[in-house]
Symmetry: C2
Subunit: 80 residues, 2 copies
């Protein structure tokens, strides 16, 4: 699984956990609903900046959010 | 301090820790040296994807990297 697909999956999980529609999350973040939808489907490569704003609205620390992504990337070896 | 400035500061710290020049890091990541330079000066908003690639070369987990950034963002409140 690549980074974008996993990022989209984790984003959808936390959005639903907060009970937000894509539209509500987009509104809170100052983004377009279709952009949230495309991130969730792994069709966009969001910036760190955008993900910090999204994480803030989802009340999750970016480090915790990215930890879930890196755990799934078995072809990514980050440390010796 | 904003996200980009802090991200650049943390990136420079870990690049130097690995003993890489901007040019060497750029080469390893398949990026331009000037792009690394601009990220370090807070003049670019890199994607999550790019930062995962950079973190891999710097042998740091993205979650650890982003943890250092969020710790410094006192105006960002991530959790209740």
């Amino acid at each position: 699984m690549n980074i974008e697909n996993k990022l989209g999956e984790v984003l959808r999980k936390y959005r639903k956990k907060m009970g937000f529609s894509q539209e509500e999350l987009a509104f809170r973040c100052g983004l377009e609903r279709v952009y949230i939808s495309m991130i969730e489907r792994g069709q966009r490569k969001p910036t760190v900046h955008t993900m910090f704003i999204i994480c803030k609205e989802l009340r999750i620390r970016p480090s915790a959010f990215f930890n879930e992504i890196e755990e799934s990337l078995i072809d990514f070896k980050f440390e010796d």
